[in-house]
Symmetry: C2
Subunit: 228 residues, 2 copies
């Protein structure tokens, strides 16, 4: 947007970078939410690039082309930003769970849907923050909220595992161990996956779902595949 | 050791806690190594309890009942302590790889040995530091060393996966994805396992090896098991 920008009437606003929601043309009813989202996205990028502890609110303000008080207008502190990054990524996993709940397919297929949504969330820009947001960085109140959200996911996976063992679509397993192993494999994607890699997030999600379903031991080749 | 302790002749030493290698009775040729190990163990415990960033060298000195200059006598800085914690845990994984190299069993069995050693290392007191020691906390030189050591493990697992696919003991898989999924599942143990849990580290290792081998899909029950 090369045209000259007007200064926003909102307190603390500064000159915005190109394409930023601080651009005067974008002021609309949902303005506050959009700007808040932009702050969360900028924080996510900064945390990804240099780590949570090495990022200041000044860095995030600078990346957005606004002043630090403008950032404080949308979030209380850096800790809340980490929390919001986590929550942004979590939406995708929750959507996968909602789809799984609506379906009447065998539990293994519903779990596979959750695994794919989970993998894509972790391969997204929010992945690193999601995986980090459990640690000593968060104070007790926000840490407890994050733990509750993570526990909800863990319990949802265990429930699908139990249903799968019951309906015969999943082999006998310890649901707690299997859920931890799956969450670990999926969370770890944040440690190695970058968006500039040759595999897309969808391909990674597909590959992980396949590996977790098959395991290491060889399986008999289905007769249909041999005929094919 | 209730008997009175003499002050060590070594510079910077202070009154030691009971059972500490700073006890006068323990001064021997391997004294330096033992004391250094104790510093690394105390650091590991402190990092586990309150996080790397929330731990100071003063805290570690206090836990050992020595002064901060004594800690500096053994390590250059807190970063080096994190590195040493990583290296201490790594020994167990390397030992498992050495065993795997000496064996002529199918690659799947050798990989299983590595998985168990890996799981036990991560379930040990060093696990949390091993998993943490890849992050923005380490400077470029030490970070590069850690990355090289992790890459060695990753490549070793991929090699065993390729050998297993070749000898038929492992089903067809993408070794890169499978190695990442396995490392993720195993590394994640540090996030949930505590030594006061009902499962021992050996039981966790066994359960993970079984899950990674079997996967989620049911397997035909072997005829021998049916007869049993």
């Amino acid at each position: 947007m090369p045209e000259a920008r007007k200064r926003s009437a909102q307190p603390h606003d500064a000159v915005a970078s190109d394409g930023s929601p601080w651009s005067a043309r974008r002021r609309q009813p949902r303005d506050h939410d959009m700007k808040r989202d932009a702050v969360v996205r900028a924080a996510t990028k900064a945390f990804n690039d240099r780590g949570y502890h090495n990022t200041s609110l000044d860095d995030i303000a600078a990346a957005l082309g606004v002043t630090k008080p403008t950032v404080y207008y949308y979030v209380a502190n850096k800790e809340q930003l980490l929390f919001e990054c986590f929550r942004a990524g979590l939406q995708r996993i929750r959507e996968a769970f909602r789809e799984a709940e609506r379906s009447d397919r065998p539990a293994r297929e519903r779990l596979s849907r959750v695994v794919r949504g989970y993998a894509q969330a972790i391969a997204s820009e929010y992945g690193w923050c999601m995986v980090r947001a459990h640690e000593h960085d968060l104070g007790p109140a926000m840490g407890a909220q994050i733990n509750a959200l993570k526990s909800e996911i863990d319990q949802g996976i265990r429930r699908l595992l139990r249903e799968g063992v019951a309906d015969g679509s999943i082999g006998p397993c310890d649901p707690k161990i299997a859920a931890f192993a799956m969450a670990g494999a999926l969370n770890w994607i944040a440690h190695w996956y970058r968006e500039d890699q040759p595999m897309s997030a969808e391909e990674v999600a597909e590959a992980f779902a396949t590996f977790l379903e098959n395991g290491l031991l060889p399986r008999p080749v289905p007769a249909a595949a041999l005929r094919g």
